[in-house]
Amino acid sequence: MPTGSPWTRRVWLSLAVVFLVLSLFLCLALGSTSISFGRVWDYLVGGAADDPAGVIFWQLRLPRVLLAFIVGACLATAGTILQGLLLNPLTDPYVTGVSSGAALGATIGIVVGLPAVPWLSLLALLGGGLALLLVYALGQRRGHLNIYVLLLAGVTLSQLLSAVISVLMVKAGEDLHALLYWIMGSFSARGWLEVEIALFALPLLAVPLFFARELDILLQGEQRALELGVDVERVKKILLVTAAALTAVAVSVSGIIGFVGLVIPHLARLVVGPRHRKVLALSLVLGAAIMGLSDLAARVAVAPSELPVGIVTTFFGAPLFVYLLRSRRRL
């Protein structure tokens, strides 16, 4: 795999954007009702349509596909940030404990029987936010954020909240199916409201791009970054909160979708090298496209039924991660 010259890296980024656009059209075209590429284009430029395919396109498919793309971008970006901050290749967006908090929030919503829209997403956001506050407080000491303590607190909190969720699942009864789908992650029956929630994440996606140099320097360790003049505490806090917020938004609209936030940053680094400006850009693009395609697979693989998208991402992500581990000297 070429990682060397700036020229090849630029080519890879261009290819990634082409891949993104193609994936978008593919996801919009295929499904239980197939729509040709030409019709997709017509619908996109022509606005709302009255024919049945047009209704499916505007009311069901477009919001769902957009949501998948945004969630994929959020998870991949959060994963890139956290892997950089923690210098740990095994880090994914869920280590902060935010996802478990969000999952618990949604689970409570389901068990209590609140209407899914908009309550599940809001409760998930609330749960994720509370989890972040708790973990952050545990990781902080005398103005210094110890990112490893935070990580351990996050992992521990995840375990604890998972246990609570399991208890609720035992009590869930007929809600179990909905719960299971939520926990494994799914874009099923999501609409424009979820897209609107997810749109809050868009500005957050740009934040790490402003800290690309700092993220590069932090790969030499916090100590060295301080020596080189980086305001490490401030950068850490901004990036950590950004990653947690991206994760919380993603989880609140789609549940816990595994492996995208873990594998995509590695894939991006393999292609464009370690510089964060490029890794972040490519992660965002690849995360969006691959999540879209995974959801496509989830929709059509066992049609007319559906798989939770988290199962699809795990099926491709786990072997890919092992491949990356084996083929690369360092991740």
Binding site: T3, R213, E214, D216, I217, L219, Q220, G221, Q223, R224, L226, E227, L228, G229, V230, D231, V232, R269, G273, P274, R275, R330
Partner: protein
């Protein structure tokens, strides 16, 4: 123990660039520095030396504002380093750390560019290249950093620090993992940068490198200043002996001073040995026997003879004749007096000529007194006095070589005479 050793008071703060004022620092439950004060002038080349755990690296981190002292302050041109934003301080002070790990595939040039962070986005690449060129390692620019050798990496890390364009460069044992060629290459670069006006403060373990390159030295011991001043004054055998607990010997050779070290002589006295030596045959005896706890004297040696230089550096009592002169009556008497006080008198394998023939009289006198008298066998081969040396040496114990003698002396103590 260390307070009495200050050689020169710190400079007046007026002309100083960097003032370390009464700095005290502790890790939890573990005091490291107490009351460290010194001042560095613009363009100085300062070495910081001292035993392991004496606080050298901690001091460097306090100077770079990375650690906050409990008492005291570090001032840079009169302003406390802790009053600088990190980024502002990085423009003035750069640190080359002891350990540097980066296990990602950045090129050397990209690593150096990171040093430009404190100076903003513009022209980073060009400055990084310039820094590599300054050190003569521009050829490393496109190589992947994790694949560089230790010496090459250290040059790149130095270039990274230079890319900050600092006024003061701090280095924490920058060459301790490098081979001798890379050590010298590294320090020659530092010397060049220093001549260009950069102030250098470098923590070092190798006292000879310190002596060779540093103008001023700060010797730390137990977190305090043991000595501070010009390098050759700080590295006196007395200071080194007090701080490190070893014997140090300062030599000058080919216009350069260098140090050698040996373990402290054992406190117990094993007896007196008098060496009849010269032409470098006695130097090893002097060193080894002193280390073994013997009181060693020597004679008659000529001034500036290798044995005379060694004995003088070690502070041994000696009977010394002027260079190239035959033994005079006066010096002969001195030699006889030293030998008379000895428990054993040794004739090394020094060549015998007319000039030092009288040394043999000393040996005969010892036999006559009943003092053990030893010599290296084969005198006939090194007798250039016309055959007069070999006569009447009965009663002198013969050894095949000097090593056998040393073995015998170091293995068991002499019976008291």
């Amino acid at each position: 123990m260390t307070s009495g050793l200050a050689i020169r008071p710190p400079d007046a703060a007026g002309e100083a660039q960097l003032v370390v004022d009464e700095v005290t620092f502790s890790y939890p439950e573990h005091p490291v520095l107490h009351g460290v004060s010194f001042a560095v002038r613009h363009g100085d080349f300062v070495g910081v030396v001292g035993p392991n755990g004496s606080g050298k690296s901690t001091l460097l981190r306090v100077i770079d504002g990375l650690l906050r002292p409990e008492h005291g302050a570090v001032l840079l041109d009169g302003r406390a380093v802790l009053n600088h934003a990190r980024r502002d301080l990085a423009r003035r002070v750069a640190l080359v750390p002891q350990q540097f790990s980066l296990d990602f595939d950045f090129t050397a040039l990209e690593v150096v560019e990171m040093g430009r962070y404190c100076r903003g986005e513009g022209g980073a690449r060009a400055s990084a290249r310039r820094a590599l060129r300054t050190l003569g390692v521009e050829h490393l620019a496109e190589r992947l950093f994790p694949r560089l050798s230790g010496g090459e990496r250290q040059m790149v890390v130095l270039a990274q620090a230079l890319a900050q364009q600092p006024e003061v460069l701090l280095l924490d044992e920058p060459v301790s993992a490098l081979d001798v060629a890379h050590q010298l290459q590294f320090f020659d670069c530092l010397e060049r940068l220093n001549r260009g006006g950069l102030t250098v403060v470098c923590v070092l373990h190798d006292l000879n490198l310190a002596l060779q390159y540093c103008r001023s030295l700060l010797m730390l011991a137990d977190g305090g200043v043991a000595a501070w001043g010009p390098a050759d004054e700080v590295l006196s055998p007395r200071v080194i002996g007090d701080v490190y607990g070893v014997s140090a010997h300062l030599h000058r050779h080919a216009g350069q001073a260098y140090l050698t070290f040996s373990p402290r002589p054992r406190p117990e006295r094993r007896g007196r040995v008098h060496l009849l030596c010269g032409a470098g045959t006695g130097s090893l005896f002097m060193r080894r026997l002193t280390e073994a706890g013997y009181a060693v004297s020597a004679g008659v040696v000529n001034a500036l003879d290798t044995d005379e230089v060694t004995g003088r550096e070690m502070g041994l009592p000696m009977a010394v004749e002027a260079a190239f002169c035959a033994i005079s009556d006066e010096v002969h008497e001195e030699n006889a007096a030293l030998a008379a006080a000895a428990d054993v008198v040794i004739l090394t394998d020094v060549p015998i000529g007319p000039g030092n023939l009288r040394n043999l009289e000393i040996l005969r006198a010892a036999v006559a007194r009943g003092t053990p008298a030893w010599m290296v066998a084969g005198l006939a081969q090194r007798d250039f006095s016309g055959g007069s040396a070999g006569v009447e040496l009965a009663g002198v114990r013969q050894f095949p070589d000097g090593a056998a003698m040393l073995d015998e002396l170091c293995r068991r103590p002499l019976p008291p005479h």
